[in-house]
């Protein structure tokens, strides 16, 4: 999808500027999430502190991009795909900011968890969930950067996997808490981290929905994946069918 080619060169620059700021913000958020997970898995308190203290940069970025969007709406009255870009960006950055908040929460819990390395048993399950969520986040940002609705719809399908991992981990934590009541506090913190990871996955999927809206002009929120696929991506289904056989 082309952003440029307006008669007004300045307008091209303004839209491109907004887009590149979103990518920059996406990069910052991804790094925050990665570092938060690292600090959690490696009991790295200094890194957790760093994540917690860097969240304000993301908040500022959100406000700056929102201001840019308002300015473009007021001055250019964007229409069609330009309008969809501005609206999608304004929504994407809200989700990015929330992801930043979740990363901050993970960092705060991991700071506390780092003192007591008791909940080690969950390490591999937590690592698994983290990896899955970070991949989804990375791919969503990639789909946004390339404005690729096909990739976006694929990511929407990974929802069930995250839920499965999250449920698994929750079950393990419950068992652990029953066996070791002294460590309930720590186990709850791990559970909250898992919850934050699950939320990050949800926000990343929202971003994918906005990518589809941006390129295809269709609002696919609150729509089943099957419906989205059959209605807007019939080509994908044809490609996949032979594999299923």
């Amino acid at each position: 999808m082309e952003l440029g080619h307006h008669i007004s060169q300045r307008y091209n620059e303004e839209l491109e500027d907004i887009r590149s700021k979103v990518l920059q913000m996406g990069g910052m958020v991804e790094l925050q999430a990665e570092n938060a997970v690292k600090s959690l898995l490696n009991h790295d308190r200094p890194l957790a502190k760093e994540v917690a203290s860097a969240d304000h940069k993301i908040n500022e970025m959100e406000m700056e991009i929102d201001e840019d969007c308002i300015r473009v709406i007021a001055r250019r009255q964007p229409t069609a795909r330009d309008l969809r870009l501005v609206i999608a960006v304004s929504k994407v950055i809200t989700d990015l900011e929330r992801i930043g908040d979740e990363a901050e929460k993970i960092a705060l819990y991991s700071k506390k968890l780092a003192k007591k390395k008791t909940v080690i048993g969950m390490h591999s399950d937590l690592a698994h969930l983290s990896e899955l969520v970070l991949t989804i986040l990375h791919d969503s940002l990639d789909a946004f950067a390339r404005m690729d609705p096909e990739q976006a719809v694929k990511i929407l399908g990974s929802d069930t996997q995250v839920n499965m991992e999250f449920d698994n981990l929750s079950r393990l934590l419950i068992t652990f808490m029953m066996e070791e009541p002294r460590h309930i506090k720590g186990a709850l913190r791990v559970s909250w981290c898992a919850r934050s990871l699950e939320r990050i996955g949800e926000h990343a999927q929202n971003i994918c929905e906005y990518v589809i809206f941006l390129v295809k002009g269709k609002d696919v929120r609150h729509t089943s994946l099957e419906h989205i696929r059959s209605k807007y991506f019939p080509q994908d289904l044809e490609d996949e069918e032979p594999e299923e056989d």
Binding site: H5, H6, I7, Q77, T79, A80, R81
Partner: protein
Amino acid sequence: MIDISKRSEFDIEIKGTVGKPFVNNPKMSSRNCDVFYGDKQAIFDVNLDIANNEIIAMIGPSGCGKSTYLRVLNRMNDTIPICKVTGEHTLDGEDIYAKKQDPVLLRARVGMVFQKPNPFPKSIYDNVAYGARLHGLASNRAELDEVVESSLIKAGLFKEVKDDLNKPGTGLSGGQQQRLCIARAIAVDPEVILMDEPTSALDPIATALIEELMDELKENYTIAIVTHSMQQAARVSQRTAYFHLGKLVEVNETDKVFTNPEHQLTENYITGRFG
């Protein structure tokens, strides 16, 4: 500088009209409309319905044929000797180009408001009363007074001019003059009002007043408006028709045209792109 020969819009082929050019039970309707000025063809095979009580906006770059098409609808092109109009054009299912059709009566049913306010050099009262007198719509002075007053009220001008009805219409401000022209068009009780860039000579406040007026008028009339302001088309119309190089490219609900148009050329035009 933009090199016009490199504009890719000339490479995009227009195959018929996309979207929804047809409606059930149309007020006006055109089929296979071609218009020629001498040897030059200005409009190519336009097929379009205009629904009852809708405002349809016609947009497109200069020279795309939108004004020419508007003038087809009340036979204003008859006044241009070299102009030839073909195809079928109906108002309530009746052929408006039929031999028995009197163009003067047609123009009473299909009124027109132009870009530049053009009141007659007469009093405000006489400007509005002119058409009613011509078509014998009032049998005495009291009836004529009523026609003038109700037309001025509908055009949203009465309050401003009620004490100055005998003053010349040309003494009003631009926006007031345009509303006077609308009152004049309404006075003959038309069914359709054609507006050819009615606000392009007006300031934003006068424009807003006319747009508000259009919204009220659509309760009783069908309105077709040609406009260069896309925001105006987006604000006032229910459907939008995009013309390009004499062809009707796309007709769709205005909401759709401005958020997710079907045709690439429509998108390029409304987003301010050249290729």
